[in-house]
């Protein structure tokens, strides 16, 4: 099992005809993902390496039964693309694009909650989601992820950062630990999917035995996750928080990674997580080592 996506997920790529969309869409297909369609209103009826292109997500869903969409549309078009996907009938929207204005994100987050409550948005500004061995939607390099091993304790990953997500996958692979699903929720101020959404899904997934959570400075998502873990989670969680030494008031690459008004520090996040029983690694490698211990005790 896995969360959110598996080998049955059929994906339409919005922006498949663009250079990024084509590159990652075909890579994802090579990985085994069911890449069933692309969209481009000007190129309907054509194909990208055999993948049919439709004018809209609605047409693609009708023709192919797509259940998820992956957005590689440039930032100015993301708001419309998200709504087109929801109105088109997919249940999962993975928005890879970075640089989307925060007001657009706040608007479509609330619009989806209100009008499409059963649609799960992941991102924007995220690396995507991979259920190793089953499906890969987004820009993660599939081969650095180890597929879950039947009969052994497998782990779920949720992360706010792209390269640290890869680092986490890699650390677990080096330690021969399989991954059920790895979700990159992205580093923007209003992520469609939160840590809690993922922790809840991992808690419910019988094949996931422990969770690696990679956070970073800014906002209070980690503190909220800590409260959820303390109240609702039976599975062990290992965490690493990036930006321990980040200076206040500076955006550390991600729009959401900023310590402001004394809030959002890594220390406060570590403290909250520790109080919830989470084991904290001081760097990604240490988090990997801690996970080896956790899995060994299961």
């Amino acid at each position: 099992m896995a969360i959110f996506v598996d080998d049955k997920t059929k994906v339409v790529y919005q922006g498949l005809t663009g250079s990024q969309g084509r590159f990652y869409g075909l890579l994802n297909r090579d990985y085994g993902t069911q890449v069933v369609a692309g969209t481009n209103p000007k190129k309907a009826g054509t194909d990208v390496d055999g993948i049919p292109v439709y004018a809209t997500v609605a047409h693609a869903v009708e023709a192919t039964g797509a259940t998820a969409s992956c957005i590689f549309i440039p930032a100015p078009g993301v708001k419309d693309a998200v709504m087109e996907a929801a109105e088109g009938g997919v249940k999962l929207i993975v928005a890879i694009t970075e640089g989307v204005p925060a007001h657009d994100e706040a608007w479509f987050y609330n619009k989806l909650k209100r009008d499409f409550p059963d649609v799960q948005l992941l991102g924007p500004n995220c690396p995507g989601i991979i259920s190793p061995g089953r499906a890969n939607i987004g820009i993660t390099a599939g081969h650095i992820a180890k597929a879950p091993v039947p009969g052994r304790p497998n782990v779920g990953i949720v992360s706010r950062s792209g390269t640290l997500t890869y680092q986490a996958l890699y650390e677990l692979k080096l330690n021969d630990i399989g991954v059920t699903t790895c979700v990159g929720i992205g580093g923007d101020p209003v992520p469609g999917t939160s840590f809690i959404d993922c922790l809840q899904a991992f808690e419910a997934d019988p094949d996931t035995k422990a969770v690696m959570m990679i956070g970073e400075i800014g906002g209070s998502a980690e503190e909220e996750a800590a409260a959820f873990i303390a109240d609702k989670m039976s599975k062990p969680v290992v965490s690493y928080i990036a930006g321990v030494t980040a200076p206040p008031g500076k955006k550390m690459g991600h729009a959401g990674a900023i310590v402001s008004g004394g809030k959002g520090t890594a220390a406060a996040k570590q403290e909250a997580l520790q109080a919830a029983g989470v084991r904290i690694g001081q760097n990604p490698t240490e988090a990997g080592t801690l996970m080896v211990e956790v899995v060994g005790d299961l």
Partner: protein, 382 residues
């Protein structure tokens, strides 16, 4: 992007928010000319993006041209907490009956917009929040609905302002919300929002932070980008399109991805070193990007060693290694470099680097070992 007060006021004015007439000036003569047009008395206000300018002598009342000349002369060029005053704002002085506070920001936790309104203005809102939290009336606004007139009225009533200020405040708050949303601001703040003895309400200050991601629909924001306060290193990196934050240490840091770059800064600290910067080169890591990054880092004379930390995902390790080797041929580097290269095709990448290795170019298998080596190399180079 943080705006100066004069830019924030011009931004507010474009949304119809009432304010006293004012003009920006960068010379004493221009300040006097502005005051003559506006009429007396005027306030001469230092334009710096740091608090406490009043206490530092950066805000003065002037009753005639001679006083404007004196104050503008003193304030222009003044250093306020490390910020040099290059522009003064000349504004018609206002009579103040009461001072309030109003702002809009995004509440990341609630994922809604948050409005704050308080009858206790003119002081730092953080201080009010600590000493008298009930004095701040809060409203959470669903971006899909916006701020309705009814909601604004109820919010103003909850803040218990002088009833004489109600109508004017409701009007300003709705305009301020429009400026916040249509203007793609991260923050719009008026502190103080004043009630005049004559009963009008207007903005006496303007604090605005704009979302740089929205520039595609606000081409005029390029003017604000041009006046951002950056140190020299940050400006050079910005011009190369690199994500760079200057720090105070001596170990230059280059990494791909914001999270890994933050993590690299952390780990340099953890092993006893002091990072000189945060630098995210993004996914590419080709020779051009790497050369640009090395140029920015080596221009910082505090840098005594450089840590290049790359995790290959889609970007392959051999391509990264070639990028580094080519870049090193193009940029003169006098300090030792330590590389950690992992992920996709890392073995091929390391093999390519092998013939170039020396004391000046070292390779380490893990982040921790590389951090230790780069900190040691910084010491040895001293």
């Amino acid at each position: 992007m943080d705006l100066f007060e004069y830019q924030g006021k011009q931004f507010f004015a474009s949304y119809g928010i009432p304010m006293s007439p004012g003009e920006a000036a960068s010379t004493v003569d221009a300040a006097v000319a502005a005051a003559e047009r506006i009429g007396y008395p005027v306030v001469v206000k230092a334009q710096v993006q740091v608090g406490g300018r009043g206490k530092a002598g950066g805000i003065k009342l002037a009753n005639d041209a001679a006083e404007v000349r004196t104050h503008a002369g003193n304030i222009l060029g003044m250093d306020i907490k490390g910020h040099t005053v290059e522009i003064v704002w000349i504004e018609l002085a206002s009579d103040i009956a009461e001072e309030y506070y109003a702002s809009f920001t995004l509440d990341r936790s609630a994922k809604k917009h948050l409005g704050l309104l308080s009858a206790q203005g003119g002081v730092e809102i953080e201080a009010v929040a600590e000493t008298d939290p009930d004095a701040i009336a809060k409203i959470w606004i669903d971006p899909v609905d916006g701020l309705t007139e009814d909601a604004a009225r109820a919010w103003v009533a909850a803040a218990k302002l002088n009833p004489a200020a109600t109508a004017g405040t409701v009007d300003i708050l709705r305009k301020l919300y429009t400026a916040y949303t249509e203007g793609d601001a991260d923050l719009t703040e008026i502190n103080p929002l004043i009630l005049k003895p004559t009963g009008e309400v207007h903005a006496l200050d303007a604090k605005v932070t704009l979302d740089g991601n929205s520039e595609f629909r606000h081409p005029d924001y390029a003017q604000y980008d041009a006046t951002q306060v950056r140190d020299e290193r940050e400006q050079a990196a910005h011009e190369k399109g690199l994500q760079y934050v200057g720090l105070d240490g001596y170990v230059g840091v280059i990494a791909n991805g914001a999270g890994l770059a933050m993590s690299t800064v952390d780990i340099v600290n953890q092993v006893g070193g002091q990072p000189a910067n945060f630098l995210d080169i993004g996914g590419g890591a080709n020779a051009d990007v790497m050369a640009g990054a090395l140029e920015v880092i080596t221009n910082d004379h505090n840098v005594r060693s450089i840590f290049i930390n790359i995790f290959g995902g889609i970007t392959k390790g051999d391509e990264v290694a070639n990028g580094i080797i080519t870049a090193m041929g193009r940029v003169e580097i006098t300090v030792p470099i330590v590389i950690r290269l992992d992920g996709t095709n890392a073995d091929e990448g390391r093999a390519l680097l092998e013939p170039h290795l020396s004391n000046m170019l070292q390779l380490r298998p893990t982040m921790v070992e590389a951090a230790e080596a780069v900190v040691a190399a910084a010491g040895a180079g001293n």
